[in-house]
């Protein structure tokens, strides 16, 4: 009788979250999946079974071999940007979190410095784009500075509207999502473990590799999930910083939506979702987050 009762209460406690999750997450996802298998014309969705959204998307993938088709090229590009952003945000985010957790002693300063990391979110995308031009543009600050210093004769074109600028902007924006979970893991590390390591004669590097990184793993994985999911679905930053010349998985969905081809957009959304779930599940295989929390 007793265990029954406690499971019932547990379910009851989880119910509000489940309800919200079911209504605003699961249900819309189910709709998207259903719509992805509908037909469509110029201006409306036709509720008849058709896999046109999918077949159109993979059009030319087999016929065009050995050249890659649009969808594969787009996903490879998106994955590349995602990987670069992930690696950079991880290194920078880990370093910042390490500094905050182990070098900043006062709680107040830890909070103040963490809040400082949110500054990139204070501006809108449009402002951000306009702000990058005077910095990285052909006649921007960086180019003028390098020319003035005699390092280059011609302005560097790859500074703006390139993969470089896209990754720069993504790292600038999303490092924060790495910092917070890693920092959270790090401050929960028992300080005595580090002292013990020191007493046992471990070098700083050994302490980092053998103690801190393994214990900060849940934070690293959670941060990675944040960054990977955001970058995989991002099309605004990639569009703006890439001069609309770099394709992304999200961009394809947007273009389809704008052409009122909702089923095709839904099909692409399902594909993107599938790929992102694959990445996340392989990440969680490396670390069992539930166990570590």
């Amino acid at each position: 009788m007793k265990p029954d009762r406690s499971t019932f209460i547990a379910w009851l406690q989880a119910a509000p979250m489940m309800l919200v999750f079911g209504l605003f997450f699961i249900l819309p996802l189910v709709f998207v999946t259903i719509v992805s298998a509908w037909d469509y014309n110029e201006y409306e969705m036709i509720p008849a079974f058709s896999l046109r959204g999918y077949t159109d998307t993979f059009d030319g993938c087999i016929a065009g071999l050995p050249d890659l088709c649009t969808i594969l090229k787009t996903y490879l590009k998106t994955l590349k940007l995602c990987l670069l952003t992930w690696a950079l945000t991880l290194v920078i985010g880990f370093t910042v979190a390490y500094f905050l957790a182990f070098h900043v002693r006062s709680k107040t300063w830890q909070i103040v410095l963490t809040l400082l990391c949110t500054i990139p979110f204070w501006t809108s995308n449009v402002i951000r784009m306009i702000a990058w031009i005077p910095l990285l543009g052909r006649n921007g600050l960086v180019n003028k500075g390098l020319e003035g210093a005699g390092l280059i004769n011609q302005p560097l074109e790859w500074l703006l509207f390139s993969e470089f600028s896209v990754v720069l902007a993504l790292v600038h924006l999303f490092t924060f999502f790495m910092v917070v979970p890693i920092f959270n893991s790090m401050i929960r590390i028992d300080k005595r473990l580090i002292e013990a390591a020191y007493d046992a004669g471990a070098s700083g590097w050994q302490t980092l590799v053998d103690i801190i990184i393994p214990l900060a793993k849940p934070g690293i994985v959670i941060g990675s999930i944040f960054v990977v999911t955001i970058v995989m679905g991002d099309f605004v930053t990639i569009g703006v910083m890439g001069g609309q010349q770099i394709a992304s998985a999200g961009k394809i969905i947007e273009a389809r939506l704008n052409a009122l081809q909702f089923p095709a957009a839904a099909a692409n959304a399902v594909i993107l979702l599938g790929i992102t779930i694959l990445i996340i599940s392989s990440l969680t295989r490396i670390v069992d987050i539930r166990k570590e929390l």
Partner: protein, 429 residues
């Protein structure tokens, strides 16, 4: 009641008194006179869905002064306007959109055609819209979704365009223009006279086009035809092989690094040009004006192959009826009565009814904007800032010169679905 509740806190007594008062008013409003608050008609409000380009605060302010109709703007991008009409037809009253989107909007049945007989100035609307010719009778280019092809419907609830005039008007014409390439003459330093220059390797990494497929493909077609690589039957209705060929040429240029960036938003185009990131790109007239008002040389360059034109107008949501429909007619009639037309002309656009706009402009303004004459005094923007000094002439000359040289119109093609896919490939290349 509103006054009372605005004061400090409401206690139970005043609330009850207020409620009783309202009940009394409601009960007696039919018989008792002298309750102006209740008797006054509901405020005239119209929700106006459109792109930012035509939604000026000055226009809504003046409209309220003249007619008492309050315009609430709903601003969206070209694509989002269409999406909203299709998915949420109840979320707006008046729609301001381009003619090319009608091929999607009309079959959806979500818009309601207006009755030409209720539009006072309808007979004075420029023949550009009704017949595809200039006021002087010269025929203009009709490739693409030209407005006269989609202006009339066969009946009130018809989803078919009529080739001959009827009184059921899909969109009451308001504003249109002839678009071309914008250039930075100070950086190019030589005359530009053809669309081919957009793909000229001389401007490698300094060119740009719009990333709106329906418009971008037309600019691409102008370039391809100008280079002599292909002559289209109808640029605005390409066959699949034509789309493939056009996109192939553009893709090669993109891979060779011809384009600095693509733009989608008015402000993006202004920034690209003003910062010198691009020196030649497809552009809209007010964007050129904006770059120029920043003190940077920018020309809306007339080209020998002609212009790519666009036009927009008003219709209402199918959900609009009764008094609201009357206000919509009142608003459209006000819009064509001159003040708004003059306002649009002063931004470098063209108004649908030329005669009423002319009456609202000075002779010098009319001469500069419409007749291609040198300005006698300084030419000012609607907000009073000086756009051009005395002696300046408009790029491309007079109305007849510019509209007369239109080669094609923004379009939705029969192969639109295929074209959008190819456009995505182009972006991904």
């Amino acid at each position: 009641m509103t006054d009372r509740s605005a004061k400090k806190s409401i206690d139970r007594r005043t609330l009850l008194k207020g409620a009783a008062g309202i009940a009394g008013i409601a009960a007696g409003s039919g018989a008792i006179t002298g309750f102006p608050y209740v008797r006054s008609a509901e405020p005239k409000v119209l929700r106006y869905l459109g792109t930012a380009v035509n939604e000026g605060d000055d226009i809504s302010k003046k409209c309220f002064e003249d007619t008492g109709i309050k315009i609430e703007y709903i601003t969206a991008t070209t694509d989002d306007v269409t999406k909203r009409v299709i998915t949420q037809p109840n979320s707006f009253d008046v729609l301001d959109t381009e003619y090319f989107s009608l091929k999607k909007l009309v079959p959806s049945g979500n818009i309601f055609p207006l009755d030409a007989r209720k539009i006072k100035e309808f007979d004075n609307i420029t023949p550009v819209f009704t017949k595809g010719e200039l006021p002087n009778g010269k025929k203009i280019g009709g490739q693409g979704t030209a407005p006269w092809k989609v202006l009339y419907l066969e009946g009130e609830n018809s989803k078919k365009f009529s080739a001959t005039p009827t009184e059921f008007i899909t969109l009451i014409p308001t504003v249109y223009n002839a678009d071309t390439l914008g250039i930075r003459p100070d950086l190019i330093k030589r005359p530009i006279s053809s669309w081919t220059e957009l793909l000229n390797p001389e401007f490698k990494g300094k060119a740009s086009i719009l990333n709106i497929p329906s418009i971008g493909i037309m600019d691409a077609a102008m370039v391809v035809e100008a280079t002599g690589q292909h002559k289209y039957e109808d640029k605005g209705n390409m066959t699949k092989p034509e789309i493939d060929m056009t996109m192939k040429i553009m893709t090669e240029a993109k891979k060779a690094g011809q384009f600095r960036a693509f733009w989608k938003d008015f402000n993006e185009s202004v920034n690209l040009m003003a910062s010198g990131e691009t020196v030649i790109q497809s552009m809209w007239s007010p964007a050129v004006t904006k770059v120029r008002s920043m003190g940077i040389a920018c020309t809306f360059q007339p080209l020998k192959e002609g212009y790519r034109s666009w036009a927009s107008g008003f219709c209402v949501s199918k959900a609009v009826s009764g008094a609201k429909l009357d206000w919509a007619y009142e608003f459209v009639n006000w819009y064509l009565s001159g003040w708004a037309g003059a306002y649009l002309n002063r931004q470098g656009y063209y108004s649908a009814v030329l005669s009423t706009a002319k009456a609202n402009m000075s002779a010098d303004e009319w001469g500069y904007w419409m007749e291609g004459k040198a300005a006698v005094g300084d030419i000012k923007a609607p907000d009073g800032t000086i756009l051009e000094k005395a002696g300046a002439k408009r790029d491309g000359g007079s109305y007849d010169d510019r509209m007369g040289a239109v080669a094609c119109w923004n379009a939705v093609m029969d192969e639109n679905d295929y074209m959008v896919r190819k456009w995505n490939e182009f972006i991904a290349a």
